[in-house]
């Protein structure tokens, strides 16, 4: 009897926490999403009318921001992957005794607030920063081009902010690869590139999948980068939800958008994991 009860007791605190702070709010959010304003009521007063049309209205009205969210998140994820893979590979295989130091450096940005770091990018990409004058001098951008308040700035900010979430799972995955399997691949007539394609990359797939999910999911719902580094033309769905909730006080639309975003991410992630076939991996 004791043996059967123990696992449930261990689950209890986590379950209680998630029930109170995740499941109940979700139910509440679901209820809100089908409400309509009380006729003659004050701003922010809604009643339940089960109006599912809310979802369709909200989506049609904001489909541009939805599209932008996923495109930005995808680009940021791919950039982060391109930057993180060589970095994680080098830390795992080539850093020797400095391995732990490099890992600390990867997570060092977390010692400063997310908002502050994003605001800092505003300066880096601003007129007073070193990036714009340098690019102008070497002629990559014209004198009238600015980088702040552009989609470029938003994507860069997202790439930068989510980079550790890509690097750490990749590192964990690559670090677990037995270097002797790479030697064995070379021994069995595979050159460096083939070894990467046939051995290193497949063996690091769990890290690639985890890293891309940990980057893409928060990036798709992010609103801080677009708010600080973007302009009204780079609004993402997170910004719409934020303004519906806190400025326009249109709770039903915000709730419907939140659910639509969740569903879209869930579908994309499911398709992605099916395709990547992580359950096949060790």
């Amino acid at each position: 009897m004791q043996k059967i009860r123990t696992p449930y007791l261990l689950l209890l605190p986590g379950f209680a926490f998630l029930f109170t702070f995740f499941i109940l709010p979700i139910v509440n959010l679901a209820q809100t999403s089908t409400q309509t304003p009380i006729s003659g009521g004050d701003t922010g007063q809604y009643e339940q009318t089960l109006r599912f049309q809310n979802y369709i209205d909200a989506f049609i009205e904001n489909r541009e921001q939805f599209g932008r969210s996923f495109v930005y998140a995808l680009i940021a994820t791919l950039l982060a992957l391109a930057i993180s893979y060589p970095l994680a590979y080098a830390i795992a295989f080539k850093s020797g005794k400095y391995k732990n130091l490099f890992l600390v450096l990867v997570i060092a940005p977390f010692f400063t607030s997310f908002i502050l770091r994003t605001v800092a990018w505003k300066q880096i990409l601003g007129e007073e920063g070193f990036v714009v004058p340098t690019l102008r001098t070497i002629g990559i951008i014209s004198d009238s081009t600015t980088l702040t308040s552009t989609s470029f700035a938003v994507v860069m900010g997202m790439t930068y902010n989510f980079l550790p979430f890509m690097t750490l799972p990749l590192y964990a995955s690559i670090d677990r690869i037995d270097p002797r399997t790479l030697e064995a691949s070379g021994d069995l007539y595979a050159n460096g590139f083939t070894t990467f394609r046939k051995v290193t990359l497949p063996l690091s797939m769990p890290g690639v999948v985890a890293g891309t999910l940990l980057t893409f999911i928060p990036a798709a719902g992010d609103y801080v980068n677009a708010a600080i580094l973007g302009s009204p033309n780079t609004k993402m769905i997170g910004n719409v939800i934020e303004s519906r909730y806190f400025r326009i006080v249109d709770y039903p639309t915000a709730a419907a958008l939140s659910f639509t975003l969740m569903a879209a991410i869930l579908i994309l992630v499911t398709l992605y994991i099916r395709k990547a076939g992580t359950e096949e991996l060790v």
Binding site: D178, R180, T181, E183, A184, S185, G186, D187, L188, Y189, A190, N191, T194, K198, V199, P202, L203, M205, E280, L281, V282
Partner: protein, 382 residues
């Protein structure tokens, strides 16, 4: 270098190879020829440079000085994937994401061979595991993984197969079985095998030729029987089996024999087994070559008198005695339990005798403990 080394065949020739890591010489001016088709063992304790030597042959390390030839072809600086050499790694290093079939087919596919089924199934049958083709490596036992690692290498028909402590992770019984199988497979496929091990019994069971390595150099090379019966150094005498080494002086010649004095008692030994450089020497006799007799029993050959049995341990197939000699040294004697002779008892006064041909002589300035304090169970490699 862009020439094609992959078709090179012939003897493997290492010429004056040195490998340095900083100040440490892992391999020190080593020259070695491994004849085509032989089963060659590099035997030595941890850190003797045998694995480094193997990795240089595989192409995983480059020698600091020296050259490696396969037949006429210089392969010193060619990449591992350009060499017709395959390795069975110490921990097998199977690809965990591929099935057994794909593990074995890996080398064939990399060389652009399209139809791999026949070849893969052939080696799977050779290692007697055809039913495991669809499994993943983690679903296999250690012994099965070992065989697959072997199959993955020999399917490529390399000019040279390198085995890096391939049986180290197996338990004793399985190891004995695999030793016999490996030897059989080597005869069957007719490839050159180079086997690195710290286990002298394993090397002696399998190899035609053994090179005993110590501190980056080859101490002695020869057939297992050569090395065992006629070791040239104390290191070899102690590392391969056990030896009794008794200090003595060479006093003269008698035809093909050398006469020596061991603490006042005369013995003789064949000239071609003496590696002494002057009159001072150590006489070496293997424990199983000794015979024990009571004082009144007549004996022939070399005799040392005045022994006293200090310790008796019965181990079934033989009985091991420690016999204390008048000069204080304890000699080890293994007597087979096959002649119905009642075992001797602790405290018996005995003579020790042996046939002169079983005696070897080492230089008198040798460190007679060399090679004896390294335990073969020292598994950790350099």
């Amino acid at each position: 270098m862009s020439f094609d080394a992959s078709s090179a065949r012939g003897d493997l020739i290492l010429t004056r190879i040195t490998k340095e890591y900083g100040d440490f010489k892992a391999v020190d001016d080593l020259s070695l020829t491994i004849p085509k088709g032989s089963f060659f063992a590099l035997l030595g304790p941890s850190g003797c440079g045998k694995t480094t030597t193997l990795r240089m042959i595989a192409g995983l390390e480059e020698p600091t000085i020296g050259s490696i030839h396969l037949g006429e072809t210089d392969i010193t600086t060619t990449k591992p994937y350009q060499r017709p050499i395959n390795t069975v790694f110490q921990n097998y290093a199977l690809f965990p994401h591929l099935t057994i079939f794909e593990n074995i087919a890996f080398g064939l596919r990399r060389r652009g061979i399209k139809d791999v089924d026949a070849e893969v199934n052939k080696v799977l049958n050779l290692v007697e595991l055809p039913h495991l083709a669809g499994r993943k490596p983690t679903q296999l036992s250690g012994g099965q993984q070992q065989r697959i690692a072997l199959a993955r290498a020999i399917v490529n028909r390399p000019a040279l197969l390198l085995l890096d402590e391939p049986l180290g992770a197996l338990d004793l019984k399985l190891r004995r079985q695999m030793q016999i199988e490996l030897k059989w497979i080597q005869k069957e496929v007719g490839l050159t095998f180079v086997h690195v091990t710290h286990d002298q019994e394993e090397a002696m069971t399998m190899a035609d030729t053994i090179a005993v390595m110590n501190e980056g150099k080859i101490e002695q090379m020869g057939s297992p029987a050569d090395l065992y019966d006629n070791p040239e150094t104390a290191f070899v005498a102690n590392f391969l089996g056990q030896s009794n080494l008794i200090k003595g002086t060479i006093t003269g010649n008698d035809g093909d024999s050398i006469i020596a004095d061991l603490y006042g008692q005369k013995i003789s030994l064949p000239k071609n087994r003496s590696h002494a450089v002057d009159n001072s020497m150590y006489a070496g006799i293997r424990p199983e070559k000794f015979r024990i007799s009571l004082l009144d029993t007549p004996v022939s050959g070399n005799v040392l008198t005045g022994g006293r049995i200090e310790d008796v341990s019965y181990i079934g197939v033989s009985t091991q005695y420690q016999v204390e000699m008048p000069w204080g040294q304890e000699l080890m004697v293994f007597e087979q339990n096959d002649d119905g002779v009642a075992p001797f008892n602790k405290g018996d006064a005995v003579n020790i005798s042996w046939a002169p041909v079983f005696t070897f002589a080492l230089r008198g300035d040798e460190d007679i403990t060399a090679g004896s304090e390294v335990t073969p169970e020292d598994l950790d490699e350099e």
